[in-house]
């Protein structure tokens, strides 16, 4: 009988860092083809709709980047904490609180606001997210409360707080009693980059954040300390790296990024606060961070991929009338293979006889 071994590599394979995602994609397409054939769906047409059709029009490209931008920004912030094993699951809540903090400024100034309003709103978004992130950080250090549970549960608090605001204090007086804030003045919004498309200048914030995060994680001493704390906590303790600082840095970075992403979403495509402002960006960004292997450039690829999956899923449902459960199964397959193929970076497969 032939036995399959996994043998640990002496050093991680650089070929497989690129090769593993390619293999995962091939496996997904292979298994997906079998799945679609079994269901009597044309696999070629489906794969085309999934991976290519959304990107064939200028507007499709604009939507692709528009959705990828917040995912990438949030995942960049989360990766700082994840490097140090600080498990921030609360990006969704920080996204909402950032949007609210910036929204208060936008609504306060209304029409004819000063030119510095938009930069001030970016800062407010960051502070709102950081304030929300400070709660799990403080409780973790002061009471050793799990940041996973605290940050997760604060998501629901933030969601309900937003619902309260748009149903009450921030409701648009001229809004026919709909639970939504007044529309933002153009001075509180990012300007579209192209006519008739929703992609706006906020994407430059994300691009800047990619560079800053890369420098922080790969070149800064604080980033190094956090990475050591994540992969070898005992060594970090031996070296005297502060765990409290890692927790604060990790959570605040995640909060600032998610808060700005929330502000960008409302000051971009939405234009006003509504009871629901995130289609789950704060959760999907966790997957983006891991698909990107907690590396700034990897996260860009991960964000673009998940954004495409979002759009491809909708595209096949509309164009081919395929039930959403099938598209989610297909998305799940891709994510599963991507994470499973990672094992090949650190291990090689050996065949031997017993």
């Amino acid at each position: 009988m032939i036995k399959v071994h996994l043998e640990r590599r002496l050093v991680p394979s650089t070929i497989m860092v690129i090769g593993a995602p390619v293999l995962a994609l091939a496996a997904t397409i292979g298994l997906g083809t079998i799945l679609f054939l079994g269901l009597g769906i044309d696999p070629l047409a489906t794969l085309y709709q999934f991976f290519w059709a959304p990107l064939t029009t200028p507007n499709g490209l604009s939507e692709w980047l528009l959705k990828a931008s917040p995912l990438i920004l949030i995942a960049l912030g989360l990766s700082v904490g994840f490097r140090a094993n600080v498990w921030n699951i609360g990006a969704e809540g920080m996204f909402i609180m950032g949007a609210i903090a910036a929204g208060l400024l936008a609504i306060h100034f209304g029409e004819g606001a000063p030119v510095w309003l938009l930069p001030a709103m970016v800062a407010a978004g960051a502070l709102g997210g950081m304030a929300w992130a400070a709660i799990p950080a403080f409780l973790r250090i002061w009471a050793n409360a799990s940041e996973i549970l605290v940050s997760l549960m604060l998501n629901y608090v933030a969601q309900l707080f937003l619902a309260f605001l748009v149903n009450g204090p921030l409701r648009d007086p001229d809004g026919f009693n709909y639970p939504q804030s007044p529309l933002y003045d153009p001075s509180a919004m990012f300007s579209p980059l192209f006519d008739e498309m929703r992609l706006n200048s906020s994407i430059f914030i994300t691009i800047g954040a990619v560079a800053v995060t890369w420098i922080f994680l790969e070149r800064s001493f604080l980033g190094f300390q956090m990475t050591v704390g994540g992969i070898a906590p005992v060594a970090a303790r031996y070296a005297g790296f502060s765990q409290a600082r890692a927790i604060w840095t990790g959570l605040l970075a995640g909060g600032a990024a998610a808060g700005i992403a929330g502000m960008m979403e409302v000051s971009g495509p939405l234009g006003q606060l509504t009871p629901v402002i995130s289609p789950g960006y704060g959760y999907v960004a966790i997957i983006v961070a891991f698909i990107g292997r907690l590396n700034a450039f990897g996260i860009v690829v991960g964000g673009l991929l998940l954004s495409l999956l979002y759009m491809g899923g909708e595209s096949v449902q509309i164009a081919l009338n395929i039930p959403s459960a099938i598209t989610r199964t297909f998305q799940g397959m891709l994510l599963f293979f991507l994470l499973a193929a990672d094992v090949l970076i650190h291990y090689r497969i050996r065949l031997g006889r017993t």
Partner: protein, 459 residues
């Protein structure tokens, strides 16, 4: 003529980048006590793991009582009559002795009958153990007895002991040897893994010497001297270590005054009223069987665990409540026993590992890491301490234990040119082979500059 109890013919095992065992052959007769002797990394553990079925050989054959066998897993090994006592015990702390033993048995068991059986065995071989005791109340010697009884219950024909005396005091060692001799007289073959020459002379009939994964020789212990064995094990005559008496500083660099501390770990050791003092130029050893508080004391000295400020003093300043980083600035450096995961980050390069404890000399500027500088420091340590590796970008986990140890010692002693005089106290833990780095470390002592104090634990 009877067939050997166990015979290995040309057993080999490779791991990526290293040949752990290169065509090893040996045989053990019934009733024979055979030592397997070698330095750290000589391939002793891999060899025993293959005999016990925890690792599968790449090539070669194993014969038990003259019959070729394939030992696919430890269960097969046990059914063939092979028992193994590991160096690190695999007992559950919170349950009783007899429950621990029951867990290792295949199939159903009756706790009461098993308890009686344990008591009978313990009386017969002089291994006193109370079956209903909870394991966390036992001393290390008692725990080892539990492990041995657990093996004896299987009525082994071959018993493997991996460094069994590293945790025992001398009296317990003598007692263990008595038990092993009785077992050998009853016809049990014993493989005794060790690097301690005196024990091998006291106990073993024959010895198999391994070096760098290769078989050096199979000898009868009576025919060779201890220094012959040592030479075969190391591959060269062991250098004689001479120490120039050093000039001690008038005032102590490190003082511990009446240190008492309850361990945070419920199974840890509580320290009570410990005092010591080390002057510049002095080397202080801390002796004791492992598990008697050395770990706790070292963590308190290094600052990994904080205590009352008045308990620990560096250069007449209280530091008991100060962080690791502050103590390091005051000149305390520490080489921990655990190299991977504590002294070094396994998946990071040697250059990155210099940053763990040394951010001076421009290695970190404006919060950013200067890669050329940390690479230069790593290269300096590699050259000065003869660290065998692929270079400054080699991952710490790819170095052998001894080479990584040299690297860490080099880093802590501050191989960099400027830092040589900034370390009043240096703590090393279980240095083991003294021929290599301590001679270097102590070389600069008379000048009174480097590593004057050394707290060393003798396991």
């Amino acid at each position: 003529m009877t067939a050997p109890r166990l015979e290995l013919r040309g057993i080999s095992k490779r791991y990526p980048g290293v040949i752990a065992n290169d065509s090893i052959s040996l045989s053990v007769m019934p009733g024979e006590i055979r030592a397997i002797l070698g330095e750290n990394g000589a391939g002793k553990s891999t060899l025993t793991k293959m005999i016990y079925g925890a690792v599968t050989p790449d090539s070669g054959s194993v014969l038990i009582d003259g019959q070729p066998v394939t030992i696919r897993n430890p269960g097969v090994a046990r059914s063939l009559g092979i028992g193994m006592v590991y160096q690190h015990f695999s007992l559950f702390e919170s349950i009783s002795v007899v429950e621990n033993i029951a867990l290792a048995l295949d199939g159903p068991f009756d706790l009461r009958a098993l308890g009686a059986e344990v008591s009978a065995l313990s009386a017969r071989y002089g291994l006193p153990v109370e079956p209903r005791q909870l394991v966390h109340n036992l001393s290390v010697g008692e725990r080892q007895r539990v492990e041995i009884i657990r093996c004896l219950l299987q009525k082994p024909k071959l018993l493997i002991l991996d460094e069994p005396t590293s945790v025992l005091d001398p009296k317990a060692v003598e007692h263990l040897f008595e038990v092993l001799r009785v077992l050998a007289r009853e016809g049990v073959s014993i493989l005794y893994i060790s690097h301690k020459m005196a024990e091998i002379h006291a106990l073993c009939d024959t010895a198999t010497i391994l070096r760098g994964g290769r078989l050096v020789d199979n000898v009868a212990v009576a025919d060779v001297t201890t220094s012959d064995l040592a030479r075969m094990m190391v591959g060269a005559s062991i250098p004689v270590i001479s120490r120039i008496p050093s000039i001690c500083s008038p005032k102590p660099h490190l003082e511990v005054i009446g240190l008492s501390q309850t361990s945070a770990d419920p199974y840890g050791t509580t320290l009570s009223n410990i005092s010591l003092s080390v002057s510049g130029g002095e080397i202080l050893g801390i002796a004791g069987v492992s598990g008697n508080g050395q770990q706790e004391l070292l963590s308190l000295l290094s600052g990994e665990v904080l205590t009352d400020s008045q308990f620990i003093w560096i250069d007449q300043q209280p530091v008991g409540d100060m962080s690791v980083a502050t103590r390091r600035q005051r000149g305390l450096t520490f080489v921990p026993e655990e190299r991977l995961g504590r002294g070094a980050v396994p998946s990071m390069s040697l250059a990155q590992n210099t940053l763990l404890t040394d951010q001076t000399d421009g290695g970190v500027e404006f919060g950013l890491i200067k890669r050329s500088i940390i690479k230069g420091k790593a290269q300096h340590i590699i050259d000065a301490f003869d660290v065998r590796c692929f270079g400054v970008d080699a991952l710490a986990q790819t170095l052998s234990g001894g080479n990584l140890q040299k690297f860490i010692v080099g880093r802590e002693l501050g191989a960099g040119p400027k830092s040589a005089d900034r370390c009043p106290a240096y703590m090393g833990c279980r240095c083991g082979r003294c021929g290599l780095y301590p001679s270097k470390a102590c070389g600069s002592e008379p000048g009174g500059r480097r590593c004057p104090g050394d707290i060393r634990r003798t396991g």
